[in-house]
């Protein structure tokens, strides 16, 4: 584990521009470079660095929108740790990160394996699996509210036909998150495509060699395919996790705007509670503290995943 990770190595090995020998040539190159970079440099300063600094400052203040921020030190952070709703929101989000993300990856991989089978109509099936992922989030969420309607929804009707008494889905605190997970899995076409392209990159020679050695389909999947696509799994795991920590639009639509978190705070996710604090309760300082805690959680999880994954990820070449 003492081996440095690629991103870390990058982080710690850069040369400061100060060490550069400034000749007429490098000065000119630098000027050209900066000119090309200027759109991003300005954007970075105005829409990333400045807001970061300000938000960090706000997190130590009580700031009710129009009134000037009032410095209170660590108070926001202290209050957060005793705020029940903060813990509810965090655990709801962790539920999604721990269950929805791995489940989605697993299901995406299986779908990709299915779509990689040589069958007639393969191209058509791929389109069918992919299309839901480009349905706009708000439209998809509303569609699922309709499909999962407890009384007249299609899903419970179909369940009733095979003798199952369907749950109340989005109206039941026990079932609202599973309903959202279903919605997420419906739109996982993008991940399926990434896996599919990974499957196509698995060298045919490896599979044939294993076949000659008498490995069956499942053994080949387990010993060749899964290790070969492990970098993709890591990438999808990290992006999926970062996205899930910021889960917002779907929960906002389910909450109908004015009943955020319903039923019984079961869809009160971290970003939803943060939004509520910032723009409905106008506790901008408190919300900023929440944002920084979120950032730190994401950083820790990402670095942890990168470190742990070193053992499980196989990089060819």
């Amino acid at each position: 584990m003492d081996k440095l990770q690629p991103p870390e190595r990058k982080l710690f090995s850069f040369k400061l521009p100060l060490k550069v020998v400034w000749t007429k040539r490098t000065k000119a190159d630098f000027r050209t470079g900066m000119l090309f970079l200027s759109p991003w440099l300005i954007g970075f300063l105005a829409f990333t660095l400045y807001p970061m600094v300000v938000s960090f400052y706000y997190s130590f203040t009580i700031y009710h929108s129009r009134r000037a921020p009032d410095w209170v030190g660590l108070q926001n952070y202290k209050v957060l740790f005793t705020d029940d709703k903060f813990w509810i929101a965090l655990s709801n989000t962790m539920y999604m990160v721990a269950i929805a993300v791995p489940l989605g990856l697993f299901a995406s991989f299986l779908c990709a394996v299915l779509l990689n089978l040589k069958v007639r109509g393969q191209a058509f099936y791929r389109v069918v699996y992919f299309l839901p992922s480009i349905v706009p989030t708000v439209a998809g969420t509303i569609l699922f509210l309709w499909l999962l309607n407890p009384q007249v929804g299609l899903v419970n009707t179909l369940l009733a036909q095979i003798g199952i008494d369907g749950p109340n889905w989005m109206a039941d605190p026990q079932w609202s998150k599973p309903a959202l997970i279903l919605l997420g899995m419906w739109g996982m076409g993008g991940t399926i495509i990434i896996y599919l392209s990974g499957l196509q990159d698995v060298p045919q020679s490896l599979i044939e060699a294993a076949e000659l050695d008498g490995a069956n389909w499942l053994q080949r999947l387990w010993h060749i395919t899964i290790p070969m696509v492990s970098p993709i799994t890591l990438f999808n795991l990290i992006t999926g996790m970062i996205g899930m920590f910021q889960y917002f639009a779907q929960a906002y639509v389910v909450g109908g705007g004015d009943k955020l978190g319903r039923p019984l705070n079961s869809t009160l996710f971290y970003s939803v509670y943060l939004y509520q604090n910032a723009f409905l309760f106008l506790k901008m300082g408190y919300a900023s503290a929440m944002a920084w805690i979120l950032f730190i959680i994401i950083l820790i999880f990402t670095l942890l995943l990168l470190k742990v994954s070193d053992r499980f990820t196989y990089y060819a070449g």
Partner: protein
């Protein structure tokens, strides 16, 4: 799928070699058929999970008001049969009249349990019946499979709330305007930045590249509040499209990364040759790199459209008055009403989805390529 078991099947040792080969061939054929059937079965079974909700959105969009809440729901949309009586389209009902026979009558109105009917065969005659006679309801609408296209204009012509003064057409137009400028800003600003990271050597480049990649990990929530206050309070851009459009003119990590990956595949010797010939970096970028980059620029265009069209959080933060709503906001507002008109809601959702579906079928390869480019960074 596997050839090994097929060739190792040896129940035919006593048979003639020729027969043996034939039956072996046959058993392989059966095996292949079985494998293919199971594969198809699995793909279709899982595919239902993806296809049925999508179809249900479209089918619901075509349902009549009576049919939406029909229990149990029917797959195809049904509507009341209508007949022309004196130039008016009236719904047709099966009515049980006094002598017990059932007659097809058109309804003029139903008020407080009393229906006023007219016989289409004899338009002069007006009949009134009490609909509920004892335990029996004497009039039932005659339904037929019929796609109610009228839901689409009805949904688009209405606002998300009653008396809101803006229709879904306005929301649609707003979404288009925002998407257009977002694409413009993204294309103009990201390409030069990506070129500098890909092909210009200058001190500090690698440091800056690490920084731009690191911004991908930064959650929007961290910068959201100061950006909101900056645009809304300091610049007074609240309730305009500017906060959604202006930042896209200043590049972003995802598109820079995508473009840089592509630019790096263009042979460096070409750039060097141009440099030797005295071309400036700007000339190389505009006259050499950009013309070679149409595929990746198409990818960026399609994905930016997708992102801008889909975006919910941005418009939610900055747009307050319904005349400035985007489709995403309008749809959410429509859904949040007390009584939900599901068929019109699904019609609006379908209209919201159509531009993306069109984009997908026109640029299928571009779509898939883009997903692979973003996904295969390792």
């Amino acid at each position: 799928m596997t050839n090994i078991p097929a060739s190792s099947s040896t129940p035919n040792l006593i048979q003639q070699p020729d027969q043996g080969r034939r039956s072996e061939k046959q058993s392989r054929k059966i095996r292949d058929l079985l494998t293919s059937t199971i594969s198809h079965g699995l793909i279709i079974f899982v595919g239902m999970f993806f296809a049925v909700p999508f179809l249900w959105m479209i089918l619901t969009a075509f349902k009549s008001d009576q049919d939406v809440f029909h229990s149990p729901p029917r797959w195809l949309p049904y509507d009341n049969v209508r007949v022309d009586v004196n130039g008016e389209q009236l719904p047709l009902y099966n009515v049980k009249i006094e002598d017990g026979t059932i007659k097809q009558l058109a309804v003029i109105k139903i008020l407080e349990g009393i229906g006023t009917f007219v016989d289409p065969a004899n338009p002069g005659e007006i009949l009134t019946y009490k609909l509920q006679q004892g335990a029996e309801r004497i009039a039932e609408p005659i339904m037929e499979v019929s796609f109610r296209w009228q839901n689409f204009p009805d949904a688009m012509n209405r606002g998300s709330r009653p008396g809101v003064g803006a229709s879904f057409w306005v929301y649609f137009k707003n979404s288009l305007i925002i998407a257009f400028f977002t694409i413009l800003g993204t294309l103009i600003s990201n390409a030069p930045v990506a070129y500098a990271f890909a092909r210009i050597k200058f001190p500090g480049r690698d440091t800056l590249f690490v920084i731009i990649l690191a911004t991908m990990m930064l959650p929007f929530q961290v910068t959201m509040i100061p950006i909101y206050l900056l645009f809304n309070d300091k610049l007074g851009w609240g309730d305009t499209f500017l906060p959604l459009i202006i930042p896209t003119f200043f590049a972003n990590a995802w598109d820079v990364f995508l473009l840089r990956q592509f630019f790096r595949t263009i042979p460096e010797e070409m750039c060097d040759a141009a440099r030797v010939d005295g071309a400036s970096e700007w000339q190389i970028f505009t006259q050499l790199i950009l013309p070679l980059s149409t595929p990746v620029l198409a990818t960026v265009t399609v994905f930016t459209f997708l992102w801008a069209w889909n975006d919910f959080t941005g418009p939610l933060l900055f747009l307050n008055s319904p005349r400035n709503f985007t489709m995403a906001l309008g749809l959410q507002d429509f859904q949040g009403q007390k009584t939900i008109v599901w068929n019109q809601l699904m019609a609006a959702a379908t209209v919201f989805t159509i531009p993306i579906i069109i984009a997908f079928f026109f640029a299928q390869k571009t779509f898939i390529q883009g997903i692979k480019l973003t996904g295969s960074k390792e």
